[in-house]
């Protein structure tokens, strides 16, 4: 509010451009005693209790002073070559109308006072500018007429918007012209306004008639364009504002729809599956874990919330991944799904996936599978640390363990797919286990110094 505030204090208030009294039949005027909230209310133009456009009463509410003061200030400022009128017009154009209808009782006395001040303001403006010679009177009069016309049309635009709010239907410029009720009246008022503006501008142009013909028609065209621009200002402004509002609403709706769609596709479907399979605890646990992982990835994962979560397909697992942490997470997820166990994984640091790190991830995956198959417990912890010269992975379970010297026939996976794989890429594999003590597979893969820690 800072700059606006300054502007308001400075231009403090101007009451009324010309012509307001013509349109006074529409909405009578003005009352303002607001029960102020602690904070200064945002500035709007009031729709109830206004004399012309609700600028003065809106400003009075905003500044929390009696509306009469504001109007007097506008009128007095009008004496400074019409500054008050200009300020009023600018506020009218740039301050949005209040969308809520405030039920304020219009007081006849207030309204009369307002109109009196309007006339005073105009008189002051015209007199002062004539006296100071800022405007020659032959320009001042037609300009006043043009301003009057513009005021009538703008006011009609406000009315149109108000009707639109009330009706909830009809949009765009058309709505302003053919709003419900008072449709013919509105048309007449707009036409009258247009005629006034055209007359005003026309007189200015004709009065300078001692130009030659070419210059004159050029001036006429220019004047017409200016007239049209002035007349349509409120419509353009409203169009821009409404567009902005609409875009915001659409973004919100889209986002909501996306979240709903995601939750439907994932969480709701899984919950339905869980209900159907409630008698199979292992399957329920598997579903719940898989869903949890997916949702977690969606919310907190590298892609972040809202982005489509990566699909962890077999093919992708075979392919090269960007980051070690993602690859490891995907591998853990797969084993979780396949064997209905839970794998807690902690990764410190991160690195881009090289062929040797891919081998490391695959070896780790094999170790997790071994734990899942043979340990007899449902939990495996995986810890990976990326250091400047080395990446280490620990796969650990608290299961029954085994005697490494008496490896059963089906445990050759350790020798081939873990140790063999690590050694082919220059890594090392250590095993720590004993019957009843759980198993820990320690994998270490050297990396080039520069590759370390992202």
């Amino acid at each position: 509010m800072g700059p606006v505030q300054d502007f308001l204090d400075l231009g403090a208030a101007a009451r009324v451009p010309a012509g307001s009294s013509t349109s006074s039949t529409l909405v009578p005027a003005s009352v303002t005693d607001v029960a102020d909230p602690q904070t200064r209310p945002k500035m709007y133009r009031n729709r109830s209790g206004r004399a012309v456009a609700g600028v003065a009463s809106g400003l009075a509410e905003h500044l929390r002073v009696p509306v009469l003061w504001v109007r007097v200030a506008f009128a007095l400022l009008a004496a400074l070559n019409g500054a008050g009128l200009l300020a009023y017009g600018l506020l009218w154009v740039f301050v949005p109308q209040n969308a809520e209808e405030v039920a304020a009782e219009p007081k006849t006395k207030d309204r009369q006072r307002a109109y009196g001040l309007i006339l005073l303001g105009i008189a002051l403006a015209v007199t002062s500018s004539t006296l100071t010679g800022a405007l020659r009177s032959w320009v001042a009069v037609p300009l006043a007429v043009a301003a009057l016309g513009a005021a009538v049309v703008w006011r009609e635009a406000d009315e149109g918007q108000r009707r639109r709010w009330r009706a909830g239907a009809r949009d765009g410029v058309a709505g302003a012209f053919v709003g419900e009720g008072g449709r013919i009246g509105a048309l007449i008022r707009i036409l009258a306004g247009v005629v006034l503006v055209a007359t005003g501008i026309g007189v200015v142009v004709f009065a300078t008639g001692n130009f030659d013909q070419a210059k004159f028609s050029l001036l006429a065209v220019l004047a017409t364009l200016v007239g049209v621009a002035v007349l349509t200002i409120p419509f353009w402004l409203r169009l821009v504002r409404d567009l902005g509002d609409e875009r915001q609403a659409r973004i919100r709706t889209d986002e909501r729809a996306e979240i709903a769609a995601h939750l439907h596709d994932s969480v709701l479907q899984t919950l339905a599956l869980i209900q159907r399979q409630a008698d199979q605890p292992a399957e329920v646990a598997r579903l719940a874990r898989g869903q949890e992982r997916e949702l977690r990835g969606w919310l907190y994962g590298p892609g972040g919330y809202g982005k489509p979560s990566e699909k962890r397909t077999k093919e992708e697992e075979e392919g090269v991944r960007q980051q070690l942490s993602e690859a490891l997470a995907a591998a853990c997820g797969e084993v979780e799904d396949q064997f209905a166990i839970s794998v807690g994984q902690v990764v410190v640091g991160d690195a881009e996936l090289t062929p040797s790190l891919t081998a490391l991830v695959q070896a780790a995956r094999e170790a997790i599978v071994n734990s899942a198959k043979h340990s007899g417990v449902g939990e495996v912890s995986v810890f990976a640390e990326v250091e400047p010269t080395e990446v280490t992975v620990f796969v650990r379970d608290r299961g029954k363990g085994f005697d490494p010297d008496v490896v059963p026939a089906d445990r050759h996976g350790l020798a081939d797919s873990i140790r063999g794989r690590m050694e082919r890429h220059g890594g090392a594999c250590k095993l720590r286990t004993a019957p009843g003590e759980g198993t820990e597979v320690q994998l270490a893969m050297p990396v080039k110094a520069a590759k370390g820690a992202a």
Partner: protein, 222 residues
Amino acid sequence: MTESQREPVKVFLVDDHALFRAGVRTELDSITDEVRVVGEAGSVAEAVAGIARTRPQVVLLDVHMPDGGGAEVLRRVRPELPDIVFLALSVSDAAEDVIAVIRAGARGYVTKTISSKELVRAVVRVSDGDAVFSPRLAGFVLDAFADRPGSAPINDPELDLLTPRERDVLRLLARGYAYKEIASELFISVKTVETHVSSVLRKTQLSNRYELSRWASDRRLV
């Protein structure tokens, strides 16, 4: 560890999911006498009032709640009741959440998937004044204190660096080792392990290392 034959630890639950509160309460009450749930709350204001009224020893605190979450509860309760210890219990795995509650004063962080037995052990341990690091928290802290080429300069070595021993302990914690296992692995006593963990907790809370303050400020703390 030292938990037999003593007064049950008084626990207060703060979580905005009534269903989850009920679940934890049932679990804690049914599996052990070591802890007793003395109250629960579903919002920050309720929690602040309830904690002041029931004077629990340990508060189990959800990280994500409307009106500021667990960190807000910590901020409002700790100045007046510094003896109450907080253990954060959350589904969030995001580093900024974990680090934020720790820096706001929680003595530990465990995820909601923790087993009931582990949870009881964690509660008893924080009530004894120790810190509780889940493997994931240990990982985050290791990450934050890592020496990397691009990391910010160290202002206060006392707070901004971990000793090699502390680093070893954290690594083993992150690998899922229990204190007893860490002690035997490093040939030190369990008490020493606890001392190391508490010291790491203190550094995590007080250090101004860029990584830590960045994570904390992501959650508008500090």
